[in-house]
């Protein structure tokens, strides 16, 4: 298990809960992504998710689709994403997970990817198109290659059946990514009232912490969820906030100043 990730969940959260943030690598540029990863880490984000752009992101809503498109237009690749992580690791210890659809990673060559990712300082993977039970071969293969350096983060949906949750209940590394509602990332849809009960019910079966994601953007949501989970994931809302700044065409100095407001807004979610 990744030591960096383990440490985060071992210590008490600084705020009502832990904060997991998502941005897309290379949106709109490698430099901006690096600066933002550092800024997020410096402003109290506990775990970073870094998206790898893919042309056909079927689990994503319009905000992250657009981010992937911008990153691909800027020629972002898996290789450059790993370089970005390596650069980030020179200065920061915040755990970082790659969130990626399978195909770009498979194309890179899985064994090579596992080695290069571990070496660059990646702590694990969130793979939205690899259901937990389909991924056993890939996980074992990765373990053989790089030992316990890379965690695989299981996703659990409200539709998940008992046997799927059962399979995840064996897991002792990382955390469970609980999907707040049926659907794709982002959107203005309110979280269903049932979500707290659902997360609570998982508590009895899982050995690992639970972080909740999809559609989280308000302090009230975070406060309500904090009672039942170990962390919340903020993705589309953050990507959207940065995209708004990028569209303004600001001078770099102004952009950097305004990014700080985004960091503070994010940090305020867990107050």
């Amino acid at each position: 298990m990744s030591e960096r990730l383990k440490a985060v969940f071992k210590s008490e959260p600084t705020g009502v809960t832990r904060l997991v943030s998502y941005i897309m690598a290379g949106d709109p540029s490698v430099e901006a992504s690096l600066r933002r990863l550092k800024g997020l880490a410096d402003h109290g984000v506990d775990v970073l998710e870094l998206g790898v752009p893919f042309s056909d992101p079927m689990a994503d809503g319009v905000v992250i689709q657009a981010a992937a498109e911008r990153a691909l237009n800027a020629q972002m690749t898996v290789k450059k994403t790993l370089e970005l992580v390596r650069e980030f690791r020179r200065t920061h210890d915040t755990p970082l997970l790659l969130m990626s659809y399978l195909n770009p990673l498979l194309r890179y060559g899985w064994d090579q990817l596992a080695e290069d990712a571990a070496d660059a300082g990646v702590d694990g993977f969130i793979l939205p198109d690899l259901p937990w039970r389909e991924g056993q071969g890939l996980r074992m293969r990765t373990k053989k290659r790089v030992g316990n350096k890379l965690d695989f983060i299981p996703m659990i949906a409200q539709t998940s059946r008992e046997q799927d949750v059962q399979a995840v209940s064996q897991v002792t590394e990382g955390f469970a990514y609980v999907i707040s509602r049926n659907g794709i990332t982002g959107g203005e849809v309110e979280l269903p009232a049932s979500v707290n009960k659902f997360i609570e019910s998982l508590g009895n079966s899982l050995q690992i912490p639970r972080c909740v994601g999809f559609g989280i953007q308000k302090p009230e949501q975070v406060r309500a969820l904090a009672k039942v989970c170990d962390g919340v994931v903020v993705g589309s809302a953050l990507v959207k906030a940065f995209a708004k700044l990028d569209q303004k065409g600001l001078e770099e100095q102004d952009l950097i100043e305004q990014e700080k407001e985004v960091f503070s807004w994010l940090a305020s979610l867990k107050n």
Partner: protein, 409 residues
Amino acid sequence: MVKEKTHVLSDDGYETSGHFGPYGGAYVPETLVPALRELEAAYMESCQDESFQQEFKELLQRYVGRPSLFYEAKRLAEQLGGGRIYLKREDLNHTGAHKINNTLGQVLLAKRMGKKRVIAETGAGQHGVATATACALFALPCVVYMGEEDVRRQNLNVLRMRLLGAEVRTVTHGSCTLKDAINEALRDWVTNVEETFYCFGTAAGPHPYPTIVRDFQTVIGQETREQALKELGKLPDAIIACIGGGSNAIGIFHPFIDDKEVRLIGVEAGGTGNKTGENAATLCLGEPGVLHGAYSYLLQDDDGQIVVTTSVSAGLDYPGVGPEHSNLKETGRADYVSISDQEALDACTLLCQTEGILPALESAHAVAYAAKLAPGLSKDQVIVVNLSGRGDKDVETLAQYLEGGANHE
């Protein structure tokens, strides 16, 4: 240097769902996993259920008009010289293509499963029309996702879907064709999964779709087999079908897979050339990867991004292909070739003018390959072409081509 393929998702012998050799699986968001299992269970049950099978069979006979004709295209063969050519006339089915075989099966299943709403993607619009038709017949609301580019070039089918009471949602992301319509339909499904049935249009996508769609389409091959034995006293020498995702092809191939003497040939869209982006010849020019829930051949770039495809035929304009075809390629049981836009357009006019049959541009790809193969065969050898659909929807595209051709002269 030929690198041996490693199929990391299945290589180490861990159990995964629904594979054909190393290809297939169900690589979808966790939210959809239970829905696919539910579908698989309902489908398996329906296979054992005689009342379901009977209802499906009767629909195929009394509503679709099956069996479809097995027609010898004598004038075409005469003009080409060489072997005999038969057409399996799926174009004569109700709604004008093979797609209706599958949609009636799936919508029957939706009804059985108590689903309240049906969604579908469509490229050429034939699957959309066939789904809208089945939904009208079974009184289920229907939403069809269609890429903006396809809405433009297959407008007749958009109007037909609307007449049938379906809602057509135009998809404006990505390449605005079939692959983007599938992405959008999957997003709808993951959001409305409990009450929604996703009626998938080709023998691709996550398990169990490649199997379900194949099974509903094998009626084409079963009839062809019986008709050939009755009419010719032997099996055909070659069977040719066009490949979008591969449903009409696997439907006609499947009952012949064990008959090693029958050549099976899938024809992909060669578009305007062999360079990246100029075609949709997935098996001929692609590499394995994961798209739309299955591990199969894909047209992708060096970084694993899906390539935008080109084909004059909307129904073949897809960068993926069904996993069973990937396996038939790997085992060498079937051959996959490609036909260019120009060759397909020429085959369209050839079939019109020799036989009075206007094929869909998709099916014209299969006709075009038959025209290449026939002259090299002897007079007692027989080719069967799966004429998967009729070409009324393509008249505007053909008109542009004919007018364009006139300008060049």
